[in-house]
Symmetry: C2
Subunit: 401 residues, 2 copies
Amino acid sequence: MKTEPEIIPSGGITSPGGFLAGATGAGIKDKDQSRLDLGIMFSEVPCTAAAVFTTNKVKAAPVILSQKLIKKGKTSAVVMNSGCANACTGEQGMADALEMTELAARRVGVSTEDVLVASTGVIGVTLPMGRIRTAMPKIVLSAEGGHDLARAIMTTDTVPKEVAVRADDYIIGGIAKGAGMIHPDLATLLCFLTTDAAIDGDFLAKALRKAVDISFNMVSIDGDSSTNDTVLIMANGRAGGKSIIKGSRRAGVFQQALNKACIYLARANARDGEGATKLIEVNVSGAVSAGDARLAARTIVSSSLVKTAVHGSDPNWGRVLAAAGRSGAALEPDKLELYIGNIRVVKDGAPALFNKKEVVKHLDGKEVYIALNLNMGKAGATAWGCDLSEEYVKINAEYTT
Amino acid sequence: MKTEPEIIPSGGITSPGGFLAGATGAGIKDKDQSRLDLGIMFSEVPCTAAAVFTTNKVKAAPVILSQKLIKKGKTSAVVMNSGCANACTGEQGMADALEMTELAARRVGVSTEDVLVASTGVIGVTLPMGRIRTAMPKIVLSAEGGHDLARAIMTTDTVPKEVAVRADDYIIGGIAKGAGMIHPDLATLLCFLTTDAAIDGDFLAKALRKAVDISFNMVSIDGDSSTNDTVLIMANGRAGGKSIIKGSRRAGVFQQALNKACIYLARANARDGEGATKLIEVNVSGAVSAGDARLAARTIVSSSLVKTAVHGSDPNWGRVLAAAGRSGAALEPDKLELYIGNIRVVKDGAPALFNKKEVVKHLDGKEVYIALNLNMGKAGATAWGCDLSEEYVKINAEYTT
């Protein structure tokens, strides 16, 4: 029996057994309905489910509704749309979110309270419910529909993000979106995960939180966290076998597989940040506590000055140290050791002798690795982000207009 | 006798009596010495002095040295340079900072321990001490030299920042620099203030901290705080009269004048942020506490998405609410009321009816006002920043190379 979880090439959210999905162009993004923007994920049997949501105090209507529905730990379907966040939309927004679950429930033949809802897009605009009512019946569900669904939740994303991981006798599948407004603040984007494993609800919730903490919560694109962030997992038990419970060998493997799926999607999101040309991976080691390591890694990867330096392949390592210094993490400047790629540029807090050309060559690549050793303790953390380009500014200066 | 402090046109750091300044091109920024980059501020009589420094744990050598020297609350001169931050430079950096104070002390004829030092520029590079030794004797001090000194501390600043405020029978003068790496994290830039008022040392320190808190600490350019931030004030008592002490009428006027000078320079810094085309002023009112108001105002003005929307004159007000929501400030989404310019765009947390063209017209201006009323309590705060442009990215992707 396999114990090392592995990625299934071209897999996605409908790779686990018993899950169907589909999407259509409802005309939310474009009136001509040329782009997919409305979709449903459905499990043929009711699922154990768990989710984490944005910590932003300004929450979108679908987040408020789904937060309420998920409390029972069960669900059968999720309806989702892009192009409109249904946030800051008052009572109308809540009525619309509810109607979306009603329309989807009718489409798939379950009760309304067994359908969750998620939206992403512009804030402060109400959903075009007329067009959504017309489009919902057109959604065709299939075991291959996950790929369409991955596209239907894209906003400024340039590529869909999908993954499937095989572990033991089951599969975990997932899709995600998120190019801007991504920041480590708990749930950080839209991500939907499925598995045909049978899993105990309490363990599932804890495992999801753990996986999110070391994946999506360690990604920063631009320091803003959204009103709509949702990470959801549904487990339908189709693979058979006893329910996986906390503390068992199978629980360890499941956590490993879930981490793998989440980190894969988190990295895909970072790589596809708005205007991004490079993925940045920051590893902080030698911290006194895990909290300190996380803080330092996220502060470095979020720094506009680090991000622009990476964009320009500028080996301006002082900015990395300055970011670590203001992060709040315990550190002693004289102990800092910094690597860019595998080249040591700082030793004992002062410039090391290094070949500048080699560092620039690494910075010119598609994946930039920055490793900071605080040399104080044994804790570590990894964070992901992307460079900051002129294109980011262009995209965001023209978003609604 | 005047009690309302007023700005003196074309005033600067040498406007108060008894202060002399001068600068030269030492070849730190450009080897051909074409730009001013080394200067001295000097008081003919010893000063009572107070300062606030960066909270970044990675502190430049001149910050560490000046922090030690300022403890006695007295100083006579400050030597300063741009082009090199002398940060992350180890033991050599500390030796160089010390030598700068020695060279300047010799130049102005005071003891070494009566000279403070400040540096700004690239991190991780040591000072070209040979060139500094040659240049120091060339600095000519004069009562008009403040304008040159304001230029000598510029890095990516496009204009010098100077101010003089007249109050009662004395003047407060100041210069500042700071275009990138500016963030609310206590001291946030280089700023030097002078006054010919006689002031009690303890009151001076408290008054400076208070003024910095509502000015420089409310400015954010890019979320990064530097290794070198220093705000310093020197009072030489040349205007005569009794020492101003806490609680007196004159203390109130001095605080008012100092606030005015600091806010003037803070706004000038925000307006001249790297790549900035607009000044953004964010006022948060109706907060439960001053801390909440400050948090919300600074989070909004720091948000990349708000900054890019302002850059593109995009009335995407949802981003302002989303930033407030993640700021940590206590708020209830349904109570939020938002103005752009004097146009109300959100009422009770939902879109208000407004003329989009008028909002765009305001956003097209050189100064953009955003006012958020949380409608919860009575506390308020104002923060300043600038838009985020493609130019910011260009400047910072090419800084050291």
